[in-house]
Amino acid sequence: MSLTIEVVNQAADCKKIYLIGRLDTNTAQQLEDTIDKEVNEKTSMLTFDMASLEYISSAGLRVLFKTSKALKKHGGHFGLMHLQPQIQKVLDIVKALPAVPIFRNEQEMDDYLDAMQQKVLDGDD
C-alpha cells in the first residue's frame, strides 16, 4: 500500500498537506522529499490533514517531528488535523509532538490561526 500526498496552498506561506494511505518506512522518504521541496523559511503555517491516513510508523513520526522542528526554528506553526483513533493512540504513546495543536475541524484551525495572529499583534504593542 502506498502513500498519496496532496499539497494545497491555502494562503501566502500557508500550506495544507493531505496524507492518504500509509506513512511507514517505505513512504516516509517520499514525504520527507515533498516537505524539503514545499517547506522553507518563509512557511508560516503547515497543517497535515490525516483524515485518510490509515497507519503511521515510527519512521513517519520521525518525519512529522522533523517537520515541526524545522518550522519552529523559523517561527512557523505546525498543526495536525482529523486524526484517526489509531494514529491518535500512537501519538499519545510516543508523545513525539506534545506542543503541536491537533484540530478536529477547520473551525478549530481557523480559531488557532486567529489566536496566533492576535498573539503577534499583542506582542507588537
Partner: protein
C-alpha cells in the same frame, strides 16, 4: 529454421509459377484446339469436295461420251460401220471406260426396216476387243441390264453386275435409251468396279479418309474397306443398329439426293468421326466420306506433351535458380542466426559477420552489433553493481555482527539462586535494525541492597542502517549511564538529555526501562513512548485454565531524542511466580498478506491460553502464533521480545 525458410520460398514460388503456367497453358490448349479443329474441318471439307469433284468428273465424262454418241445416232442415223468406228474412237479417248455398246432394234412398223445389231467394244489390257452381243451365246434378252434398259425413259446407271459372256468383269453401266420411229436404240458405256475402287483407294490413301461411292440403287463401292464392298446400303442398316435414327435419316437424304454432314462414332477407327455426303452432279450417285479427328488430336497431344515437358523443365530449373539465389541471399542471415545462438549461450565476444549490403539483413546485422555492445555494457554494469552490492552486504554483515555484540552476550538468563529467569529474542527486519534490549543483574552481595534485575527494551524510529547507528548510540549511552542512574526514570531523563543534543536527523527511540527487586518483587518501571509490559500470573485459583494477563498502567513520557523531559517511574510489586512480557511494535504491528495488524488483543489471547512453564517457551509460543497469523508475509519492522519470570527467593 533458415533451411525451411528457403524451402518454403522455393516451394511457394514454384507452386505459383506452376499455377500461372497451368492457367495460361489451359487457355492456350483450348484456343489451339479450337483453331486446329476449325482448320481441320475446313481442310476436310475441302478434301471431301475435291474427292466429289474427281469422282463426279469421271462419271460425267463417261455419261457425256455416251450422251454425245446417242445424240449423234439419234439425229444423224449413221451406218453400223460408222457407229462402231465412233465407239472404238470414244473408247480410245476415254481411258476410264471399260466398254461401250450399241444395240439397235428397228421397229416393226418402220417402213425401211433396218438390220438389228448389238456391238460391244471392251478393253482387255491395251487392246480393244469386239463382241457381238446379239450372238446366241450371250443371251442378250435375258440380261438384267438389258431388261432394265428396255424399261427406261431416260439415261441411267445400272447396279454393279458381272457381265458374263462379254466383259467378264464386275462393272456398272450407263444406259442411254433412244426411242423414235425407227425403233429402239441403246448406247451403253461401262466402268469397271475395280477402276472405281482403285480410284477411291488412291484418294483414301492420299487424304486419310474413308470414301464410298453409292450407286443410284444404293450399292456401296468402297476403296480400301472390303467389308462394305457391294453391300446394299439399306441392308447395312441391319448391321448398324446402334444409331438407327441417324442412319435412317442418312438413307432418306441419300435417296432424295441431298447433301449434308454429321458427327458420329465410327466403330472402324474407334473414334468420333465426321460423315459427309453429297450427290455427284446429275449422275444419281452419292459420295460418302468419313474422316476423323484422330490424327489431329494426336498431333495436338504431341504438341501438348512437348509443351508440358518444356514447362516442367523450366519450372524445375526455376526452382533450382530460386534455391541458389535464396541460399545466397540468406547466407548472412544464417551467419547471424549462428551468432545469435552463440549470444544465447552467453558468448558475447562472438564476432558478428560483416554487414554484406545496405539492405534489411545489413540493417539487422548492424542492430545486432549494437545490441551486442549494449549487452556487453549492461552486463559489465550489472557485474559492477553486483560487486558493489556484495560489498555493501558484506559491510552490513559486519555491521550486524557489531550490532549483535552491543546486545547482551547471552539472550537467556536462568539464575535459580536469585529465582529469576529471562529470555530475549531480537530479529531485525533488514540486515541491521533499530531494536534493542539490555539486562543486567546488580548483586553486590551486601545486606543493605537487594539484588536487582535491570532491563531495557527499545525501538529506534525507522529501521535499517540509520536506525542501527542510532541504536548503537543509545546502547552505548545506556551502558554508560545505567550505573549512576538512581532508578529507571532517572535513566531515561539522563539518556534523553544526551540524545536530544545534536539530533539533526530527528531520530528518536521509544524505550522501556525497569528494575526488579529480586527479593521483594518491587518493580520500578519507566516508559519513553513505549508500551508497558504485560503482567502474567498463573492463576491456580481460577476455574478456567487461562492465565491472568494484565496491562500495566501506561505512564510514559515522550520518546527519547525529541525534547528535554523529566521522566517518572511507576512502582508496583509483582507476585512470586509471575511473568513480565515486553515487546516492540514488530509484534503488534505484524501484518498478514491481507494487510491486517496482529494487534494487542491477539497477543493477550495468546498469552492467556498458553501453558506457562518458562520464558523460552513463552517466547517461542508467542512467535509461533504470530507467524501463523502473518502467514509468510515479509516482516515490516524489527521485532524484539523480552520475557522475565520471577520465581521469588525462598528465604
Amino acid at each position: 529454421m533458415k533451411s525451411s525458410l528457403t524451402t518454403r520460398m522455393v516451394l511457394w514460388i514454384t507452386l505459383s509459377v506452376i499455377a500461372i503456367f497451368t492457367v495460361i497453358s489451359s487457355y492456350d490448349y483450348w484456343f489451339t484446339h479450337k483453331l486446329l479443329n476449325l482448320q481441320l474441318r475446313q481442310l476436310a471439307e475441302l478434301e471431301v469436295s475435291a474427292s466429289e469433284t474427281e469422282v463426279s468428273d469421271m462419271l460425267d465424262r463417261l455419261q457425256h461420251q455416251a450422251d454425245l454418241t446417242a445424240s449423234l445416232i439419234k439425229h444423224v442415223s449413221p451406218s453400223q460401220n460408222k457407229i462402231e468406228s465412233m465407239l472404238a474412237t470414244a473408247m480410245r479417248q476415254n481411258k476410264e471406260a471399260y466398254g461401250m455398246a450399241v444395240i439397235v432394234e428397228p421397229s416393226n412398223s418402220s417402213q425401211n426396216k433396218a438390220e438389228a445389231y448389238a456391238s460391244y467394244f471392251f478393253r482387255r489390257g491395251e487392246s480393244l476387243n469386239f463382241v457381238n452381243l446379239a450372238s446366241e451365246s450371250y443371251k442378250l434378252r435375258q440380261k438384267q441390264w438389258y431388261l432394265q434398259a428396255l424399261q427406261l425413259d431416260s439415261p441411267r446407271w445400272t447396279e454393279p453386275y458381272f457381265d458374263d459372256g462379254a466383259g467378264e468383269i464386275l462393272m456398272t453401266t450407263y444406259l442411254v435409251p433412244i426411242r423414235n420411229n425407227k425403233g429402239f436404240t441403246l448406247i451403253t458405256i461401262d466402268i469397271a468396279v475395280s477402276t472405281l475402287q482403285k480410284m477411291l483407294a488412291q484418294m483414301e490413301d492420299k487424304q486419310g479418309m474413308s470414301i464410298y461411292a453409292i450407286t443410284p440403287g444404293r450399292h456401296i463401292i468402297s476403296g480400301n474397306d472390303e467389308s462394305l464392298m457391294l453391300l446394299q446400303l439399306d441392308e447395312v442398316s441391319l448391321q448398324v443398329n446402334k444409331t438407327p435414327f441417324l442412319f435412317n435419316t442418312l438413307l432418306d437424304k441419300i435417296k432424295n439426293q441431298q447433301s449434308g454432314n454429321f458427327s458420329t462414332y465410327c466403330p472402324k477407327i474407334k473414334e468420333a468421326c465426321e460423315i459427309s455426303y453429297a450427290p455427284l452432279g446429275d449422275t444419281h450417285w452419292t459420295l460418302l466420306v468419313g474422316y476423323s479427328h484422330v490424327d489431329l488430336a494426336a498431333q495436338l497431344n504431341t504438341y501438348n506433351i512437348r509443351r508440358f515437358l518444356q514447362i516442367a523443365c523450366g519450372v524445375f530449373l526455376l526452382a533450382f535458380v530460386i534455391l541458389a539465389i535464396t541460399r545466397r541471399q540468406f547466407l548472412p542471415l544464417k551467419e547471424l542466426d549462428k551468432a545469435t545462438k552463440e549470444f544465447a549461450q552467453g558468448k558475447l565476444d562472438y564476432t558478428l559477420p560483416a554487414a554484406p549490403r545496405n539492405d534489411e539483413i545489413g540493417s539487422l546485422t548492424q542492430s545486432f552489433s549494437q545490441m551486442q555492445v549494449s549487452l556487453k555494457k549492461h552486463i559489465k554494469e550489472l557485474q559492477h553493481e553486483t560487486k558493489q552490492r556484495e560489498r555493501i552486504n558484506s559491510e552490513l554483515r559486519t555491521a550486524s555482527q557489531i550490532q549483535l555484540s552491543l546486545l547482551p552476550s547471552d539472550n537467556k538468563l536462568n539464575d535459580t539462586s536469585l529465582g529469576v529467569q529471562l529470555s530475549a529474542y531480537l530479529q531485525p527486519a533488514r540486515a541491521v535494525g533499530g531494536d534493542l534490549y539490555y539486562y543486567h543483574i546488580q548483586d553486590d552481595q551486601s545486606q543493605e541492597n537487594s539484588p536487582l534485575l535491570r532491563f531495557v527494551i527499545g525501538d529506534v524510529s525507522d529501521k535499517g542502517v540509520a536506525a542501527a547507528i542510532f541504536m548503537a548510540r543509545v546502547v552505548t549511552a545506556i551502558k554508560a549511564i545505567e550505573k549512576q542512574a538512581a532508578n529507571p526514570a532517572d535513566l531515561l531523563t539522563q539518556l534523553n538529555h544526551q540524545l536530544v543534543e545534536d539530533n539533526e536527523a530527528c531520530m528518536f527511540v521509544t524505550l522501556l526501562a525497569g528494575t526488579l527487586d529480586l527479593h521483594s518483587g518491587e518493580l520500578k518501571i519507566a516508559s519513553a513512548g513505549h508500551p508497558m509490559p504485560l503482567y502474567l500470573r498463573n492463576s491456580n485459583t481460577s476455574t478456567s485454565k487461562n492465565n491472568t494477563v494484565t496491562q500495566i498502567t501506561q505512564l510514559n513520557g515522550p520518546a527519547l531524542g525529541l525534547y528535554e523531559y523529566e521522566f517518572e517511574a511507576l512502582e508496583i510489586t509483582i507476585e512470586p511466580n509471575s511473568y513480565l512480557f515486553a515487546y516492540t511494535d514488530g509484534l503488534d504491528e505484524a501484518t498478514n498478506p491481507q494487510g491486517e495488524l496482529y494487534g494487542e488483543e491477539n497477543i493477550i489471547t495468546c498469552l492467556q491460553t498458553q501453558t506457562l512453564s518458562d520464558t523460552n517457551t513463552l517466547i517461542s509460543d508467542t512467535l509461533r502464533a504470530a507467524s501463523q497469523f502473518t502467514n509468510g508475509a515479509e516482516p515490516a519492522d524489527d521485532l524484539t521480545l523480552l520475557a522475565i519470570h520471577w520465581v521469588g527467593i525462598k528465604k
